[in-house]
Each structure stands twice: as C-alpha cells, then as structure tokens.
Symmetry: C2
Subunit: 332 residues, 2 copies
C-alpha cells in the first residue's frame, strides 16, 4: 500500500485537522468529529446535516457552507458515523426550526441516523430525513437493502440547501430533497479497486483488461464484469441503465454529473462528459447544468459515475443560488 | 492500460469538446485547439495566455475565465502546443494593449512560445512573457534547462490575471507575474508513475515500497529514490528543500498549495496539508491563503506537490480578487 499518511488509524483525525486549517469558513469539532460552518446557523433557518463513511471526499465535509450543508459527520473510512456524532452535529447547528438529515442508503448509516433522530427528538430537536438511493445498478448490495445512495447526494445537498437558505420550512426543504432524489439516477463503472488505509490492499481483484459495471462507491459488486470498452460504449451502458429506470424525452432539462471515483484523470472525465452530452443531445434532452470532476469518490479507485437529475424550474433555480463551500462555490 | 477513452489519438480533441459542452463560459476553437472566454477580451484589458502539454488538468483550460486567463493552448498529452496555436490564441484574445504569455519552463514550451511571440509581433501584437520555474527539486531535468515550472503557475495565473482585470498595463502585469514566480517554490513526491494514453504503460518503474523524491510533472526523475515514509517526514523533506532555497521567517505570510498529482485521494491531501500547516506554524510562518486539491496533475500519478509563495500585501489582495473559472471560483 502506498499512501500519503502517517498511520491508518490517524487518517480521519489528521484529515479533519487539515480541513480546519485549510478552510477558515469551517470549524471542526475534533472530539465529536463534526465539520460545521464557522459562523453557525442563523436562527430560524432549517439546518442540513449529512454524513457517512470517509473516503468519498469532498463528500460530505467539502459541501459544508452557505447554501448547502450546515454540518457533516464523517465516519472512519467506509464506516458509518455513530449516532452520538450525528446528535452532536444536530445540537450544534439547530437553528430552532428543525434539522434535515441527508442519508445515503447504506444499512449502517440508515440505522445510525435513525437512532440519532430519536435522540435528537428527546432533546427537543425536530428531525426530518431524506434517504438518497439513486444508484440503479443493483437492487440490493453488500451493505444496502434497496438501492445505494451515490452521486445524487450532491444534488440533494445543493438544492435542498439553497431552499433552506431562502427560508424554506423543514417540511418544504425535506420535500424538495425527496423530489431531487426521486428525479435522479446514477450508474458507476470501476476500472480498478480502491485500497483503504486499514486493509492496505485492493478491495477486490479486477483483471487488467476488465471493468466492474455498476460498481458501488465502496467497491461493492455491480451487475457484471466485462472487458474494458471505449468510453462511448461505457457511457451508452450507463445511460441505458439510467434511462431504463427514468425515461427522458426531448425537451426535458437535466443536471448531469460526470464524477471521478478518485484515481481517474480529469482529461478522461471530459472525454466521458463529451459522450454523455452527445448521447443526450441525440435524444433532444437538455443538459441545463453540469458538474465534471471528483465529487463523490472511492479513495483511489479509477472509474466514473454518471448522475442524471430530471430537473424542474424550481430545482434549476435553486441549483443556481449562491453556494460557498470548499468543493462548490459560485454566486458569492 | 485502463483508461476511460475512445482512442489515444482522440483524447485531446474529445476532451476539448467535453470542456466546451460543460462550461458555457468558455468557447473552444477546435481547429486551433484554443480554450478562451466565451465573452472575449474587453478592449483595453491585457490578455493572459498560457498553455502546455495536456495531462495536467485542470491546468490550463480550467483556469480560463474572468480574473485569470483569457486563453489556454493545450498540447497533446505531455507535448508542447505549437506556435501557430499560441498565435491563434493571442490573435483571438488581444484587447489591443498586449498579451502576456505564461510559460512553464520546459524546453519545447519555451521555444514554441518564443516563436509565437515573434509571429505575434509581426502581426502587431505586443507580447511579454513570464517564465515559471519554481520547482527546486533539480537544477536541470529531462525536458528542461534550469528549473521546471510546476505549481506556481496557478499562483502566477491567478495573481497576474487579477491585476490585468483591474486595468494593469502589460508591463505591470508581467512584472507581477515575475514577482509571484520569484516568490514561489515547489517540490513534489511521487508514489506511482503515470501512464500516458499513447504509451499505455507507466513512465517509469517504482518499487512497491519506494517513492520518487523531487519528481517532475511528467515523471521526470527527482533527487533520489527512497523508501516510502510517513506524511510528516515527506512534508519535512519537501519543506526543507523549499526553505533552503527561499528562507521564511516568523511573521512572513504565504500562499500554500498542497496539490494532488491526479491519483491521490483528497483525504490524503488534507493529511499532508495538516503537516504543512503545523510545520509552518512551528516557524511562525503564516499560511494566509491555501489550496488543497488537484490543480496541476500528472494524469493518474499518485503523489503530491507542495508550493509555497511568500506573498506580499499586493499579492494577497489580488489573490482575493474575484475569479470565475472552472477550477477556481470565488467572489463572483
């Protein structure tokens, strides 16, 4: 294993310390492992809290800031954060009108956020939850009952976060988050496995000429192994899976993310985006907004995920609203 | 080789097409391979043009936009762009008061930008050049006489770009670019080699337990091979090399970049930044501004580069000025 670390067990704490040093707009509670906005939550604003295992950076800490999350709870690498951590986050950022938990659909995360919601209720904090389950590759998976939550998390956090910033109520913000999730589909392909600091070796074997089609963000198995194919055919496979689940017709507007899994050069992501844009244009589908880069990673995995959100005018307007986080920043 | 591409020889053209599709604020001249601002140059503004081999994304195309570059000329992967391409860029963006070429110190780039400057002069366009040579690892290298140009390029493009936006003259903008380069030092470490699409195999062999200390952004040899060490010791090595060349004293303000070479997870870059911040704090050196992420990459290489700029008040103020590019965006 080759990693730029000091010790596997110190990675999360040291990375959190680095995040605190790099981003004056954030404050890090090292004891509870909570990343929050330095300025706190304005009273009367719905607070958004997300979290999950580390190793998917910039998710979620890189999306804390004005117009997006109020706090993030990073677990150890590929490990759910714990309920106490989520409760501490909720208590730290509650502005008196409730907290929205944004939870990727993995069994550990779901259970722990559920328990945290109950603990928060005992403390008088109202919690609503949006469960993100956008990955169409498989129905159930290694760590998930039902579909896995992946790239759509970024869309949910951005759009619901903007609505909260504009004064939306907890119900309104939660409903918008659910709408975005319901409108979004993802599909990923891995060219290599990733290596966690703790295990020190690749999570699975993948022959030199094969790819994992429909891989999960922890390297969970997808639909099948296949010989590596040209980007155009990989994109066709991913888009077919996405559109089979949520058909799009000419004139539909979309937000599209071509997301690198951590080890893929940006120049390749643009090659992939070029194919996505061309394929959608062929169908008359409009790519109204897009992201190309590393947003929901799997440590050093080489590969790409495609997320397509069928966006209505509200979503597009909220997408364009100002945001000021380490990983997404515009309008401010 | 595992890459998300269609064909090695099509990578650049297809990536450029993807960049055009993803970024409405940019326009791409596919024939000349020039990325420019969609809105063009305001008459009377000094235009900044940079370029170099592809494979270092988001450099340079990702830094085209208000407050930074006016145009970028990407060559084939790890190959200098050609003079005609640079001339086309200069002609496209000249606002009537001259063009600044920002050139990383590699022999091919230097010769081709020099020829382009002569061709531009024949067309009546005044050109000044800033040569970036910040890499303290080695004095001469595979493709370079003198020091290589690496991470400081981002600082030069940002700070000189801001001054141009504020109405600086060609001489003033060029002088500021030179000041930033003179104030900046970089040092990089590779854990793995990178693989170009054309060659299809790693550029060099690096045993499973070793790192290349002082590597160049194309995988050029550094100072030595060493056993892989903890992040804290790697940072000490890099900082020692940087500070030996440009001493810093307590109270000095700096802009610091911890840059991933393409295949390194962001969580590791934060572990590295944590060590850099601690080491500089020990000396009383102030990290006034920072970047942590992939800014000057070497395709899929795992590793990190550290760039430190000893920044004066002018540089910090220009750093904070609004910028709106795919890879750096704030204040707008």
């Amino acid at each position: 294993m080759k990693k730029l670390i000091n010790a596997p067990e110190a990675v999360l704490a040291e990375a959190l310390s680095g995040i605190a040093a790099a981003h004056p707009g954030l404050k890090v509670d090292a004891e509870n492992k909570v990343i929050a906005r330095a300025l706190g939550t304005k009273p009367g604003k719905v607070a958004l809290v997300s979290g999950g295992g580390s190793g998917h950076e910039p998710l979620h800490g890189g999306f804390v800031g004005k117009g997006m999350l109020d706090a993030a709870c990073p677990g150890e690498v590929f490990t759910s954060p714990v309920p106490g951590q989520m409760l501490a986050a909720a208590q730290a950022v509650d502005g008196g009108v409730g907290v929205l938990f944004i939870v990727k659909n993995y069994t550990g995360d779901v259970l722990n956020f559920q328990m945290a919601a109950e603990l928060a209720a005992e403390e008088g904090i109202t919690v609503e939850t949006v469960l993100v389950d956008d990955d169409v590759a498989v129905q159930d998976s290694t760590w998930t009952a039902g579909r896995r939550g992946t790239g759509a998390t970024v869309f949910v956090e951005k759009i619901a976060g903007a609505l909260a910033e504009q004064g939306g109520s907890l119900t309104e913000v939660a409903d918008m988050g659910k709408r975005v999730n319901a409108a979004s589909r993802s599909f990923a392909v891995a060219l290599t496995a990733c290596t966690t600091p703790a295990s020190g070796k690749p999570g699975f074997d993948l022959p030199e000429d094969e790819m994992e089609v429909g891989v999960g963000i922890h390297g969970e198995p997808g639909r099948r192994r296949e010989k590596l194919r040209p980007a155009k055919e990989i994109v066709a496979t991913a888009l077919d899976a996405i559109l089979a689940d949520q058909p799009l017709v000419a004139g539909d507007e979309t937000i599209v993310m071509v997301n690198g899994l951590g080890g893929t050069p940006l120049i390749e992501l643009y090659v992939v985006f070029n194919e996505v844009a061309a394929a959608l244009a062929d169908k008359g589908v409009v790519v109204a907004r897009s992201l190309v880069g590393n947003y929901v990673t799997s440590l050093d995995m080489e590969g790409v995920s495609l997320t397509v959100c069928k966006a209505d005018a509200d979503m597009l307007s909220l997408w364009d609203a100002p945001v000021n986080t380490p990983a997404l920043r515009w309008g401010i």
